[in-house]
């Protein structure tokens, strides 16, 4: 039965325990037992739905954590990213407003004379805060992933929303009492556009077929994205107004490169997301989650490594010991390291997708 085979393959590709065969025998046996001889598509779909997401089934067997942020908490992670992004946006706007009044750069007064300088500063503040929020939330959820019982911590993050804030405010000013607050049903929704019901109701043969097709699409997009990133890295990026503090021009260049890099990745990811929401929303929640997860892992890792880790340490070290050394060369090396890291991660993903596709064929 092809559908069951696909399900088992999906489980297998997410298992990294030894003796996968014994595990698959057990899962397969359970599926056939539950089918009770009725191999109709409806019955098979229903039994597979009952078994649950194959990635989660596999994850139950995996005794050591492989994921940076695993499927159990990934929906909540997306929720937290969106929440963090909104908060970061508000904070950055406040900072921009404050800087516009208190400093000369980014001020509305210089915008007419040096528009690039003003725009660059504003964008940088916004992007910096988005980056802080992204990295912060990622680290937080990486820690959650490694806790024994992350659900209670996740719940506290999920409880941060406009509705609860409103309730707290109303309660503080005495407009609502606690009993009324508790009486309201607590409905958990994620802003990913999917729900478990979506997955369960539509877990049929087409889900797996569609997933395969879009994996190929994802593969092509990744190749194009990688090519574009390489192209951007190859050019010397030089924005005249980018260096606010001239003494840190090297850092400024690096930041510009990273910002471009992030922008390209994010634009591609959002395009893919929109494409999938329009054409395949009901059929493929897992793939979207998979794909975004890959990208965020990549962004978080590269950003952390380059911006906050290796580069400042190296620059300080070089300045102290080799003041005459060409820093531009070092910058190129750092970018090269980033490129190698990206290439390795992307190649891994591409090989993984390739394997999955050949198996499904």
């Amino acid at each position: 039965m092809k559908l069951i085979d696909l399900y088992l393959q999906e489980v297998k590709s997410n298992l990294y325990m030894e003796n996968k065969k014994a595990i698959l025998v057990e899962i397969s046996d359970t599926i056939y037992e539950q089918l009770e001889g009725d191999l109709s598509i409806e019955n098979v779909s229903s039994v597979l739905n009952q078994m649950g997401d194959p990635r989660l089934v596999a994850n139950n067997y995996n005794t050591t954590k492989k994921y940076l942020i695993g499927p159990d908490i990934f929906d909540s992670y997306l929720y937290a990213l969106i929440l963090g992004s909104k908060l970061a946006f508000i904070i950055s706007l406040l900072i921009v407003l404050m800087l516009s009044v208190t400093t000369t750069f980014a001020s509305i007064f210089v915008a007419g004379v040096q528009p690039l300088l003003a725009i660059n500063t504003v964008l940088q503040i916004i992007i910096d805060w988005q980056l802080f929020s992204l990295v912060g939330m990622t680290i937080l959820y990486v820690v959650f992933e490694r806790l024994d019982n992350p659900q209670e911590y996740i719940q506290s993050v999920e409880d941060i929303n406009f509705e609860n804030a409103k309730k707290l405010l109303l309660k503080a000013i005495g407009k609502i009492d606690e009993a009324a607050q508790n009486a309201e049903s607590k409905e958990k929704t994620y802003e990913t556009g999917f729900s478990e019901t979506d997955f369960e109701e539509n877990s049929n043969q087409y889900q797996y077929q569609y997933r395969r097709k879009t994996s190929i699409f994802g593969f092509i997009i990744k190749v194009i994205g990688a090519a574009l990133i390489i192209a951007f890295y190859s050019f010397q990026l030089n924005i005249p107004d980018a260096g606010i503090n001239n003494q840190y021009i090297l850092n400024q260049d690096l930041r510009t490169v990273i910002v471009y890099y992030l922008a390209i990745l994010l634009i591609f990811n959002f395009l893919i997301l929109i494409f999938k929401l329009i054409y395949g929303r009901m059929n493929m929640p897992v793939t979207i989650v998979d794909y975004i997860k890959d990208c965020f892992e990549l962004i978080a890792f590269t950003t952390l490594t380059l911006t906050y880790g290796l580069f400042p340490i190296f620059t300080n070290f070089l300045n102290a010991n080799y003041p005459t050394l060409d820093k531009q060369l070092i910058l190129q090396i750092m970018i090269g390291v980033g490129l190698v890291i990206n290439t390795i991660v992307m190649t891994k993903n591409i090989i993984y997708l390739g394997n999955k596709n050949s198996r499904n064929n």
Binding site: I23, E26, L56, N60
Partner: protein, 122 residues
């Protein structure tokens, strides 16, 4: 208030006794789930199967693959070491049960005394 977490914690301590007690004869995974559920011990496959795997690794249970109607099936059976563990666990469980029964009866008698004394429930 959601007490589910506490119920889960309570159940976690008993799962080993429930599972091992049913593996004194060779049983396959799905059948074990069925037996436990039919007898009122609710458990999901996703909880049980990884547990069986862990127990097998610790040599508390043993497994064997058998061909049944052209399909492989994995049968589990308690090992000698597992049997010893089960006996100890049952003994500990009975002791704990006795202690808890005593504690609960003290609590109930306290409540009765309180009712007699004050005329209202605590």
């Amino acid at each position: 208030m959601d007490y589910q977490h506490h119920f889960t914690e309570l159940k976690r301590g008993t799962i080993l006794i429930a599972v091992l007690s049913q593996l004194t004869k060779p049983t396959y995974g799905y059948d074990l789930v069925r037996i436990l559920n039919e007898n009122g011990y609710e458990i999901e496959q996703n909880t049980l199967y990884p547990l069986l795997r862990r127990l097998e690794k610790q040599q508390i249970i043993k497994s064997e693959l058998k061909m049944i109607s052209n399909r492989e099936r994995k049968y589990y059976h308690i090992s000698a070491e597992g049997n010893k563990l089960l006996t100890d666990l049952i003994e500990k469980w009975q002791q704990t049960n006795e202690v808890l029964t005593t504690l609960i009866s003290i609590k109930e008698s306290n409540e009765t005394n309180w009712f007699i004394f004050t005329g209202s429930k605590k």
